[in-house]
Symmetry: C2
Subunit: 229 residues, 2 copies
DNA sequence: AGATAAATGCGTAAAAATGACACTTTGATA
DNA sequence: TATCAAAGTGTCATTTTTACGCATTTATCT
């Protein structure tokens, strides 16, 4: 009985996480200042190596937790990067994962302790290796996802205004949307609960707060649709 | 200067290729009868191991060539599969690639010598490991691709009839399409050249042959669109 | 009390896309 | 020359999308 493919080469397999967040200022990504060589002190995606007895999805979760304290984050696999010299130390293939999370919910404190930091997409620093390319591809995927699945549950606070949702979509798609049409399209998805309560920060009149209807939201997640914004 | 990440585990990295082809009979995939253990003699995707100094894209090309003699095939990366026991011999992560190719152009002879064989999607045998899952995901991706990029250049003969193109789309999407609407939608893409020449096999009247307008086709490949069939 | 500013809600006209549908043409064959 | 089988071709009603307009509501600011 065969117990190894002896002639085949083994390589290091890494995972890098692109974590998107959103707040009043716009779409952000979570980066860390690398605390080991090479490129120590430079900004990078949150990454680490796959262990021998670990599934990639789990590795992504573990690595994210190790560097940020974040847990219960659902990430999706994106792409495997394999340029020979992408990591100058040793041949490493890296599989990228991405997630959307709610910045407020996820304890800025903890992230701080771990030296992770949010950056606006627009003015993020240059990243090490091929991480900038990974981020660009992740943004592309995020845009696509936006057109076939509802987005927001993961990125907005529990209660949010229509304007916030609109601004989220505008930030992801990086284009302006007509408020009236946007509202009626979103309403037609039937994934929101309108609350009695209003947010009085934003204006004198105040704007109604909404929450996501979790059940309907998840139903929509299962069955792709086309959302034309 | 650091020259290894000594504490990290190394793993085998494989590539598996899902090769789609099309002929009068419909959409097919190319499989091989495994000539080594484990699962020797069973049907499987065309796969092999990444070499230490090789990029994944190149590995896919090399492996496909090794087992089928095919060359100059453009493949796209799909997904990395990493279940712990997906390969019973040794921990192996596999990255799947897929391609569309023209069955006729690619020399049935050569494929035969290499023991590779075309199977209709519908009645392909069960495959080893997680290869069935890989195929299902590739079909999903192929359908998606169909809705945002033109397809056919890779799958049809140089000259083809509208009916052939229609049947290709029907095979990929596995649904019937209205001939008249299909033709006008395809024409609106402006990627076809209508020839003077007719194909007289198909009917007494004969049907016009078309070729792809390579330039416009590739322009469309760059800029995604939405094709609603 | 009145002005203000933003949110909301209703509406609609024009443009675009979708989808359903049927008859004519053609060349080979008998 | 009548028949056949497949190719080829256009119209129109409906729905969806888009781009706006505008009157109303309401808490606050003066």
């Amino acid at each position: 009985m065969l117990n190894s493919y002896s002639s085949a080469d083994k390589v290091l397999l890494a995972v890098d996480c692109i974590i998107f967040g959103f707040d009043n200022e716009g779409l952000k990504i979570l980066l860390i200042k690398r605390d080991f060589e090479p490129e120590k002190g430079k900004w990078s995606l949150i990454g680490g190596f796959l262990k021998r007895d670990e599934v990639l999805d789990d590795a992504a979760i573990r690595i994210l937790n190790t560097y940020t304290g974040l847990h219960d984050i659902y990430m999706e696999q994106l792409y495997a990067y394999s340029d020979i010299d992408r990591d100058p130390v040793e041949r490493t293939i890296s599989v990228s994962y991405y997630a959307l999370i709610n910045i407020e919910n996820h304890n800025a404190e903890l992230i701080k302790n771990y030296h992770a930091q949010w950056f606006s997409i627009a003015d993020a620093p240059n990243l090490i290796f091929d991480h900038d390319e990974m981020v660009q591809n992740a943004i592309k995927r995020l845009r696509y996802r936006t057109s076939i699945k509802p987005i927001g549950f993961e990125l907005l606070p529990e209660k949010f205004t229509m304007r916030q949702l609109l601004e989220l979509y505008e930030a992801i798609l990086s284009k302006e949307l007509d408020k009236r049409n946007f509202i009626s399209k979103i309403n037609s998805l039937e994934i929101l609960n309108k609350l009695e309560e209003k947010d009085m920060q934003s204006s004198r009149k105040g704007s109604y707060l909404y929450t996501f209807n979790k059940e309907k939201y998840e139903e929509k997640l299962l069955n792709d649709f086309v959302l034309n914004l």
